[in-house]
């Protein structure tokens, strides 16, 4: 009997971990690191009586780590035929359909990490006042969704060197603007509009990436 792969099984076939395990692993690492950073800066801030600067440092570390996690998750999984495992994955029963499921599963992990890590940050903010508010989380979530689409599009660049330069640039810009983003007080109408576009762009960039990959990588 032919059983078709679920998204989680496809992710496990390619990465050795299920969707749940990958999500827990990445979110756990991210959250543990953010808690540690918050604790360190909170202690320093309280000691010096400068608690208003805590959010700047914490948000910088949190956002950069989040982007690194996404880069790690979405930046890999190309598996050209020449790399180890490339031929095995192509020969499995579902072939490209299995690959598609794996990429979709990994995208799901990325989104789950976003939601869980921002939720975690919100809870952390309640426990340790680090000077952020709910509006900031909404906006950062929108920015992160754009980042996911951006990383998807970067994977289509034939020049790997240029793609890496753009990844580093994006990471640097995230670091520079993270403090400002974290202190936004109110969600404006255009933020919601940008959010709606971001929500459309994520699946669109995913589908374009898969189509491009099949044509230029999988079958060549």
């Amino acid at each position: 009997m032919n059983k078709t792969l679920t998204l989680s099984q496809a992710v496990k076939l390619y990465t050795g971990s299920s969707i749940g395990r990958l999500t827990v692993k990445f979110t756990g690492l991210l959250f543990a690191q953010t808690c540690l950073t918050t604790l360190i800066f909170a202690v320093i801030g309280w000691a010096e009586g400068k608690t208003d600067r805590i959010s700047d440092f914490v948000s910088l570390i949190f956002l950069v780590s989040l982007m690194l996690a996404h880069m790690f998750l979405l930046g890999g999984h190309l598996f050209p035929r020449s790399v180890p495992g490339g031929k095995f994955f192509r020969s499995t029963k579902e072939g490209f359909a299995g690959y598609q499921k794996m990429r979709t599963g990994v995208l799901l992990v990325s989104i789950l990490i976003l939601v869980l890590s921002f939720g975690g940050m919100y809870l952390l903010n309640m426990a340790v006042p680090i000077g952020t508010n709910a509006a900031a989380y909404v906006i950062l979530l929108i920015v992160s969704l754009y980042m996911i689409s951006f990383l998807n599009f970067l994977q289509m660049l034939p020049n790997e060197g240029l793609a890496n330069i753009l990844r580093i640039t994006a990471l640097t810009l995230t670091g520079i603007f993270s403090a400002g983003l974290f202190t936004v007080q109110r969600v404006e109408w255009w933020h919601w509009l940008a959010g709606a576009v971001a929500l459309l762009l994520v699946p669109l960039s995913h589908l374009i990436l898969l189509r491009h990959y099949r044509k230029y990588f999988w079958n060549t």
Partner: protein, 294 residues
């Protein structure tokens, strides 16, 4: 006679290489060797047949009825593995078993464990395991073979399986081929590629010779051995024998080469020794002729 694969005009264009209009058959129930020098197009053809890469043109008919290599039912009937980096290097026996179980419906974990033990690779259930990167080339190939042989398939396709194996392991590979075919006599087939047939000669029933992206000869080994003859003699007869031969190599004292069986009587009349070639000698002769013609 049934064919497990019928290849009709398969082509593949790369920037610097073209696999050109390959027509060949892989007979059902036998071991077929795809023989050619490095760069002849063997791997490309195998990759196309197993759905690992796309083709530019042509088609293949599998098991007399199936054409779409993306069909999971067809993929489940074919056991494929390459010799280089088939699995990611950080994988262990356990990771391989887990992934094979998900990737194929007919993977048998118990059989994999049994084959790993037989190949002295360890137990996939062990907690402490070496990853593939830490294994020797030979043990890595044994691991690939254990994985592919743990599936209940009807056609085994192996790309250069013997290249990294020592003589004893090659002998074991021949035994594995025999076992695989004998388990379901007449229903299972093996296709493997090689550039050095000498150690695999005893197990080869059918041969397809490739050069420069084309099939230059194919047939049952016994028929091929009757179609061609190995000729050798003293240097004194070389000048007269050479025009009757397909390939020729000689020195100051003797000469040797391959000729068509139709020339055998004329060559014997020249007081040369004419005998059936081994598959290895035939391979060298046919491939050398193809190089000269190119």
């Amino acid at each position: 006679m049934k064919n497990v694969i019928e290849i009709k005009g398969i082509t593949k264009h790369y920037k610097d290489f073209t696999l050109g209009g390959v027509d060949a058959v892989i007979p059902c129930g036998f071991t077929t060797a795809l023989i050619g020098v490095n760069g002849a197009g063997k791997t490309t053809l195998i990759d196309i047949l197993c759905g690992v890469t796309g083709k530019s043109g042509g088609e293949a008919l599998y098991f007399g009825e199936m054409r779409d290599i993306d069909d999971p039912a067809l993929r489940d009937r074919i056991g494929y593995c390459s010799s280089m980096n088939f699995f990611p290097p950080n994988w262990t026996l356990k990771t391989i078993a887990d992934s094979m179980e998900l990737g194929f419906d007919n993977f048998d974990r118990a059989r994999f464990t049994e084959l790993c033990r037989r190949f002295k690779l360890g137990d996939p259930a062990d907690k402490k395991q070496k990853n593939l990167a830490k294994l020797s080339d030979g043990n890595r190939m044994r691991t690939y073979l254990a994985a592919v042989l743990s599936r209940d398939t009807e056609l085994l396709v192996l790309d250069e399986p013997a290249s990294s194996l020592d003589p004893l392991a090659r002998d074991m590979l021949c035994d594995l081929f025999r076992e695989y075919l004998a388990e379901r006599d007449g229903e299972r087939s093996v296709l493997f590629s090689t550039h050095n047939i000498s150690d695999m000669e005893n197990v080869t029933d059918y041969a397809v010779f490739m050069s420069h992206g084309k099939v230059i000869a194919q047939g049952f080994v016994e028929d091929l051995k009757q179609s061609y003859q190995l000729v050798h003699g003293d240097a004194a007869q070389a000048a007269k024998a050479k025009p009757l031969m397909m390939t020729f190599s000689g020195n100051a004292t003797s000469f040797e080469g391959i000729a068509l069986a139709a020339q055998a009587d004329k060559l014997r009349a020249l007081d040369t020794a004419v005998e059936a070639p081994t598959l290895q000698q035939l391979s060298v002769g046919l491939l050398r002729k193809a190089e000269q013609d190119e």
